[in-house]
């Protein structure tokens, strides 16, 4: 995205399209809750002008995963368009595009077939127009290189020349759309150019804070230090005396459930950011902290630990049961027990939260780096008390998202302040705001007991899991839900005859949200570390032990898992089963690439872990070594089996980045609470990985194949922390059971 193109909604819907060929008159309106059959409305995504310029909509948000370099290219591929003649249009938030919530690693896996059908439907209309003109059968025509061709007579017509006639052709029904044979697809597992690369490296790409409107004020908000706290009283006189400060506005107090609503507080609006920041610092505010003021991280972990050991009755739910794990454990020849603790994490995208809004004549226009423009639209409409049709949400590039920018509280702040101030407003969160007012990745405590029989076989597995649930933010729930438990607990293949998994009550005392990879992070850390502990207890090689616990290559049934249902990331088990052959494949490949079996003779300390998440299978090996400054991560291997990819180059980049993202968390990442408020504030105390701490080499091996697409943004993260901990055990003999590792080890 270059300097922002202010695509008003009228551009897509109204007169701007009069000359735009294929799109004429075909943009449909959908009822509020109707699920649009997008492929039957190709003009939503594709507009072909008579001059041959093809506009293709990217309906998902770009936050570094490369979707703008991928999904339009897939549509163009199926259409037969030349990307050099394609203009990418970033969609506003609008239900007519279907799901736009860019999280859950499902931009490609959730829309691969639909995007292809959209391209194919438009192609069929172009072909029909050409065939009619030439008086030949459509079956004798082909579309490629931005034109329709009739090979028997060597005639061709460009897409531009056909656009107006094509628009008059009937739109094929979804069931009648003929996709290209996949062998014709140029995007499949391909290396595609990074469309925003040149704008990014010249500083000309537009992120949220780069949007400028006439007469705009900048707002910096003092929010309650404790979630749910309210302003008791405030004095704005010193703030208003700061040169450049124009207004001070109190925002509405937060109410439960917090959901996507702003946290409340007092906003200082000024002519520029610096004055707004100084103005905020000059505010005098007395807060009523509310009931979360008793939140203390240390005490909370101690309480979760008690719960893992002793909770009974209504304070514990069974989540997975097969055989009789407790009876088997009491008779086991040997038991392995361990307890794991992980902290809250903050998202800290490099771009702190920001949003711009303009409210006039009963309408609101917002510009925001949002992963979730439809939710932003809904929440802004609700907060302003106007219809969603009166709200436009334009999506800028995101300077990172990682799940935080799915929650549009910051967009609502901008809208509320713009309405109150009667001028456009940019709400700028400082880094401190970003760290202190996050929807935090959940903290967790987990306890495992495994039983071995006299023949050294694993015969029982008991896992107790406690974490405040994401649902708490939206409903007040006090137990982890099925969506979180499927992330590495209920879906974990265990060739063990007796399995019991229980979830313990854990009441949230801050806002909990999803962060890249979500519950998989703490579940994979604990389970994959525990499996490594079992290997040592059994005296087995960790890879052989992991393969033994996964069991032979097979499709794992719900019955074998000991569960009644599995959300499976929203996709059917028939298409995306739990296929342990794929666990085997990535694990063995990672072992082979890292020369696992030679590690001892070569004097290297390696750790390994494997995890399926977002329907993709990933194994990671980490190598660590000692240095005078402490433990150093030396090298990493990540092997992924994600099914079919569109842009394998960006997929590799996602896995490479996932290793760095996850190493930072495992080594340093920690948000703690004192008196209900976040202790950390900026990168000095919420540390992420730096270049010198990054392994010199991260080997990324994406196993390209033809299977249904899994996710790629998130699945790389979960196996990294356990592989690192297991490597540190191999190096030092110290078992990492509490994150971050910097709490107990010296890191170089």
């Amino acid at each position: 995205m270059g300097r922002i193109v202010l695509l008003r909604r009228s551009f897509l819907i109204g007169a701007g399209l009069a000359a735009a060929g294929l799109a004429v008159g075909a943009v449909p309106a959908f009822a509020e809750d109707a699920k649009p059959i997008l492929e039957e409305h190709p003009s939503l995504f594709i507009q072909i002008a008579p001059d041959g310029v093809v506009k293709i909509v990217c309906h998902r948000s770009e936050m570094g995963q490369g979707i703008r370099s991928s999904s339009p290219a897939l549509i163009a591929d199926e259409l037969g368009a030349d990307m050099a003649k394609v203009v990418i249009v970033q969609a506003d938030g609008d239900k007519k595009y279907g799901d736009q919530n860019t999280d859950g690693s499902h931009s490609i896996r959730g829309s691969y077939d639909t995007l292809r059908k959209i391209g194919a439907a438009a192609r069929m209309m172009l072909v029909a127009a050409a065939a009619k003109k030439w008086g030949v059968a459509t079956s004798a025509c082909v579309a490629h290189d931005h034109a329709v061709h009739h090979p028997p007579t060597k005639r061709s017509l460009g897409f531009g020349a056909l656009a107006e006639d094509a628009a008059k052709m009937p739109v094929p029904k979804s069931s009648a759309i003929a996709l290209r044979p996949t062998s014709e697809l140029k995007t499949k597992n391909a290396i595609l150019p990074l469309v925003d690369g040149p704008a990014i490296v010249t500083g000309r790409a537009t992120y949220g804070a780069d949007v400028r409107l006439p007469n705009m004020l900048v707002a910096v908000v003092a929010r309650p230090p404790v979630v749910g706290g309210v302003v008791a009283e405030y004095d704005a006189s010193k703030a208003l005396a700061v040169p450049g400060v124009r207004k001070v506005i109190k925002l509405p107090d937060a109410t439960r459930p917090f959901g996507f609503k702003p946290l409340g507080g007092v906003a200082v609006l000024a002519a520029h950011t610096w004055a707004a920041m100084r103005g905020r610092a000059a505010l005098d505010i007395t807060w009523n902290a509310g009931e979360n003021a008793s939140y203390e991280s240390t005490a909370y972990h101690a309480a979760m630990s008690d719960s893992l050991r002793s909770a009974t009755g209504a304070r514990v739910h069974s989540a997975r049961k097969k055989g009789d794990a407790l009876a088997t454990l009491s008779a086991a020849a040997k038991k392995v027990e361990a307890e794991y603790h992980t902290p809250h994490l903050a998202h800290v995208a490099m771009e702190p939260l920001v949003a711009v809004a303009k409210v006039e004549n009963g309408t609101c226009e917002c510009w925001a780096p949002t992963q979730n423009p439809q939710a932003a639209r809904t929440e802004v409409a609700k907060a302003l008390g106007i219809g969603e049709d009166k709200v436009a949400v334009h999506v800028t590039l995101l300077g990172g998202g990682f799940g935080r920018k799915s929650k549009p509280d910051y967009v609502v702040e901008a809208a509320l302040l713009a309405k109150e101030a009667r001028v456009p407003v940019r709400v700028q969160w400082t880094r401190e705001d970003d760290v202190r007012h996050d929807y935090y990745h959940s903290t967790s405590a987990q306890r495992f007991v495994a039983g071995l029989d006299a023949e050294n076989r694993v015969i029982a597995w008991h896992h107790r899991d406690a974490f405040p649930s994401i649902s708490s933010t939206f409903s007040g729930a006090t137990f982890g839900g099925e969506g979180e438990l499927q992330q590495g607990v209920t879906d974990l293949p265990l060739a063990i005859p007796n399995v019991l998994v229980e979830v313990c009550e854990a009441k949230a005392m801050t806002r909990i949200g999803w962060l890249r990879s979500v519950a998989n992070i703490y579940h994979a850390f604990a389970a994959q570390t525990f499996i490594d502990e079992i290997a040592h207890a059994r005296g087995m090689d960790p890879v052989d032990n992991a393969l033994d616990i996964i069991g032979p290559p097979r499709i794992v049934s719900l019955e074998e898992l000991g569960i009644a249902s599995l959300p499976n990331y929203g996709q059917p088990l028939s298409e995306h089963p739990i296929d342990t052959a794929r666990h085997h494949r990535v694990l063995k490949r990672a072992a082979e690439l890292s020369r696992w079996s030679a590690r001892k003779s070569e004097g290297r300390a390696l750790g390994i872990a494997v995890h399926r998440s977002f329907l993709t299978y990933v194994a990671v090996v980490i190598a660590v070594k000692s240095s005078p400054e402490g433990i150093r991560v030396d090298e990493a291997w990540i092997v992924a089996d994600p099914g079919t990819t569109v842009n394998i180059e960006r997929v590799r980049a996602q896995f490479e980045g996932a290793v760095v993202f996850a190493l930072g968390h495992a080594l340093f990442g920690e948000i703690t609470m004192k008196g209900g408020a976040t202790v950390q504030s900026n990168f000095r105390d919420f540390r992420i990985l730096r270049i010198g701490q990054t392994p010199r080499v991260i080997h990324v091996d994406v196993i390209a194949n033809d299977g249904p697409s899994g996710g790629v943004g998130e699945p790389g993260v979960p196996p990294v922390a356990p592989a690192l901990g297991n490597a540190i055990f191999a190096l030092t003999g110290t078992r990492i059971r509490t994150l971050p590792i910097a709490r107990s080890e010296t890191i170089a």
């Binding site: 490296v201 500083g203 880094r431 180059e649 960006r650 996602q654 990168f683 270049i691 010198g692």
Partner: protein
């Protein structure tokens, strides 16, 4: 008060408090948004610019420090994205979200102006104060080396 700044070869007269950090002068007053706000405390490097060729953190540098000196921002590093680092960055598809990349490039450009053939250690030391949350560091190193021809 009105102060005179030379930004990317052009003289700008701006009416600002001379204590205002250059980051905000550039972004909010001059209108050059390529220099990014990431932390406000010289902890992340997203705001890196050059003053007389030296990489500095504009978020903690008051405007008065730049009076009578030459400021270069990412927009002015080259006219057309042709600086060897910018070319290498695109060729190796370094950016993910891209937000921090301008700061990384500006830091690396100052390094290459002094050390034409830096070692891995020199690259790491030079970029120690530039953070990337997407985790592009391996490619950043590779791109610096590609631009340097090492």
């Amino acid at each position: 008060m009105t102060i005179r700044l030379r930004v990317n070869g052009e003289t700008k007269e701006v009416d600002v408090d001379p204590e205002m950090p250059l980051l905000w002068v550039l972004r909010d007053v001059v209108g050059l948004a390529g220099t990014k706000y990431g932390c406000g405390e010289a902890l992340c490097g997203a705001c890196t610019i050059h003053i007389d060729g030296e990489a500095i953190r504009s978020c903690v540098t008051p405007a008065r420090r730049a009076i009578d000196h030459d400021i270069t921002t990412i927009e002015g590093l080259s006219k057309d994205g042709s600086h060897p680092l910018q070319r290498a960055w695109v060729e190796l598809a370094v950016p993910q979200c891209g937000f921090c990349q301008g700061g990384h490039i500006m830091t690396a450009a100052a390094l290459l102006a002094k050390r034409r053939k830096p070692t891995d250690e020199e690259i790491d030391a030079s970029l120690a104060g530039n953070l990337c949350r997407c985790g592009t560091y391996v490619r950043i190193r590779a791109a610096v080396k590609k631009a340097a021809g090492v």
